[in-house]
Each structure stands twice: as C-alpha cells, then as structure tokens.
Symmetry: C2
Subunit: 231 residues, 2 copies
Amino acid sequence: MRNRPIPEATVARLPIYLRALLEVAEGRGELTVSSEELANMAGVNAAKVRKDLSYLGSYGTRGVGYDVEYLLYQITRELGLTQDWPAAIIGVGNLGRALASYKGFSERGFRIAAIFDVDEAVIGTEIGGLPIRHLDELKEAVVDEGISIGIIATPPSAAQEVAEKLVDAGVKSILNFAPAVVNVPPDVSVRKVDLSIELQILSFYQQRTQAIATAREANRRLAVQPKGLER
Amino acid sequence: MRNRPIPEATVARLPIYLRALLEVAEGRGELTVSSEELANMAGVNAAKVRKDLSYLGSYGTRGVGYDVEYLLYQITRELGLTQDWPAAIIGVGNLGRALASYKGFSERGFRIAAIFDVDEAVIGTEIGGLPIRHLDELKEAVVDEGISIGIIATPPSAAQEVAEKLVDAGVKSILNFAPAVVNVPPDVSVRKVDLSIELQILSFYQQRTQAIATAREANRRLAVQPKGLER
DNA sequence: GAGACTTTGTGATTGCTCTCACAAGGCTAG
DNA sequence: CTAGCCTTGTGAGAGCAATCACAAAGTCTC
C-alpha cells in the first residue's frame, strides 16, 4: 500500500482527520485513538479511515489503535504543512476582507502575506496591518515574499485575468472564490469555492423532498396508492 | 433516461451550467448553444454535459444544440429556484458579516431573511438593514419568516449546538462554514465549506510537485537515472 | 504461555462516475 | 427528395471510490 499514489478522495479527507487528531491531542490526554473514534469525529466510517491512513503507511498498532502524536506528525508532513506557504489575496470586497482577517487560516498555519486590488481608493489602506497593494506589483511581491498560493476574491469578470497574472508570477496553487471558471496550465492546481452553488445544491434536495411530500399529500387526499413517487 | 434519479455529481454541476447559460443569454443574442460550447464555459467535457442534461429530459435538438431560454428554465425549475428559499445566518464574526452582505447570494435569488448571534454587544445592531437577533428567537423567526436554509458561521465549538437548534426549528438544509463536523438526522441536508481545508489540499499537491522537482534535481546532480520518481 | 479479546491492514466486491464512440435524428442545399 | 453535415442521446467499458469482511498481529488476564 505504501508508495502507491494517494487517491484524491483520501487527500481531501486528510485535513479532516488532522483536525480530529488535534482535538484528541489537546482535549483529554489520550495517547492513542482507534479508527472507530476517528471515524466518529470525522463523520465517516471506520473502514474508510483505515484505508485512507494505510496509504500513508502502517502507522497503527493492531489491538491498540494509532499513536496520536505520531499520526499527527505523519499527516502534517504528508500534507506539506511542515513548511509554510505564504498566500496572497486578490480583491478586497466583502469576501476578500473577511478572508484577510479570517482566523481559521492562521490557526492552520497559513499566513496571508500580501493583499492586492486595482481600486485606487483602497490601495495604501491596511487590513490587519497589511497594506493593500496594486495588482501590478503582484509578480514582484510573489518573488520577494515567496508567495505560493493565490486566493482570488474578485468579481467573476476579473477572475480569469487575475489567474493568468498569478500563473505568470509563478504561483502554482490557486483558490478561487469568484463564481467563474478559470483556465490554467496543467501544472497549476485550482480549487474553487462557490458559495451560491452550495445553496443551489441545497435547494435541489429541499425542493425534491418537498415535491415528494406534496405528491404524497395529494395521493392521500385522493385515497389512491402512491405511484412510485418516493423513489 | 428521464425519471431516473439524478446523480449527485450531476446535481453539483447543474448550477455551473446555469451560470454558463445566463452568460450566453445575457451576452450575445445566441438562441441556441451546443454541448461543446457549454462544456468550454463550464470547464468540463462535452459528453459529460450531454449526459448530465439527458437526466433532465431530451431538451436538445440534434444538429442544432440546446435552446438557451428553454434549458435555462428547465435547470432553474429542476434546482427548485423558481421559488425562493429565505436563509438565516447564525454567527456574525468576519465571515458571517461578509456572507450577510455577499452579493452573490442575492444575484442567484437567495435572500438572507434573518441574522442571529448570542453576543449581547452586537444584538440589535444592523447589517445591511437587517437587525441581528438573539439565537433564542431562532425557532420563532424560522416559522414567521419561512426560513428554510440555515447558514452556520460560528466558531467550531458552537456549530453542533446551532445545527441542533436549526433542526429543532424545522430547517432541513444547512450550509456549514464552521470547521467542525455536524451531525443531523437523515432527513436534513448539510453541505460544508471549509476554507482552510481547501488550502491544505492545495498544500498537498504543491508539496508533492516540489518534492518531485527536488528529487529530480538531486538525481541530475548525481548524474544517476531517476528511479520512477516522476510518477 | 495459552486463550480471549481488540483493532489494524487489505483483498474482494459493489457501486458510482467519467469517457468513448457511434447510431439516430434533424437541418441545409441543390 | 436526396445527400451531406452537424449535434444529440446513450449503451458499453474503463477507472475510481466506498464498503465488506476477515486474517493477521498485537494486548491483557490468569
């Protein structure tokens, strides 16, 4: 199992296990944790936890569980969190501002190293001690500050252009909050977070259950057997 | 294909097609669009677009493409966006505030109908014209305002408790921004957005490519053949 | 040190998603 | 009305991901 490539789905869960392990480590002084406990905390099932962890190597002890500290270290290392990856935020609307002062980033070891915009009215002002700089200075800043992650928080119309500037500056990892698709070369990773898409997905499932309830109700009133609508 | 249940993966892409279609409709006056064009705009391949749309029904015309307006309507209807789903935000830290005034929600037809917190210092103050109310009023507000979506933007320690209050008030759809797992009954949908998890995933891939580059470099210097490290 | 108990690690299986490739259907031109 | 062209809709197959279930390996008790 060791040395096999780690599946994407597993990578996406490692940060969740990491959070659960931190909770165990800081909370009660448990030295080990079982896949069952981890699974409960992470909201997945135990077999998945074991399979996921087995991609990293055999770090558990049968009959006992996983050593909390050791596993914490291994996951941290695997995720590349032993070094820091300074990030830049581009766009200081509501969202950009909130991200710039979001404590969750610093708590997890991510440091916002620079903030950019193109609006002269905000350039020079500060957010949390960091000056807002003009987007034209991006490349220079990326080199000087060793920025490796770009966070796009612009309106959708600017997203592609900003992405290209990030790529041109040498950034290989982009987190895109703008509701727009951005195209980048294959050696650059993009992840997107689209807040209203999440609501639309919720809407779909809500609408569906409501439609079923309505249909059931109609059937009940007509005193007719439902015709496969619950499926 | 019609009447078969729509796969989750497809549901998650419908909002992206919707966005692309709106762009086509508002931009140039094209009346139809091909799966190829839609695929480019959505950043997926054409076969996937066609298969996804085929779950909704046969709304295309061979040799021509899809009627933009008609398809827009069908996707909107399927996603349940013909009715509105008032949402409540719980927690007014940086993120909660940003979400409360995030334009993307209103642009997509989602209305924030109420905002809650437990901090007496902020209760009674307003965000974008809406008063911040005490969490104890949640149930009452859900009934009165017909709130159907709860957006959790609290610290992680409060997330589970807030989720339970939402469920108790009758909310069936929850969007969770707190970095914590929340457990709810099976008839409630939860989607989570965890900003630092996204960065950690980016970190994994960045670290990996960097590790490979370093190993290649080491091999080059030693004038030895790489041993399968590029895979 | 033997037997009962616990928990991991993983082959095997099942299910879901993506991609391919092409027949079917519809339009256009002459 | 026919031939050629275009684009959809979908069966078939490949590839991932989740789950099951159990042997292997460790601890604990007496």
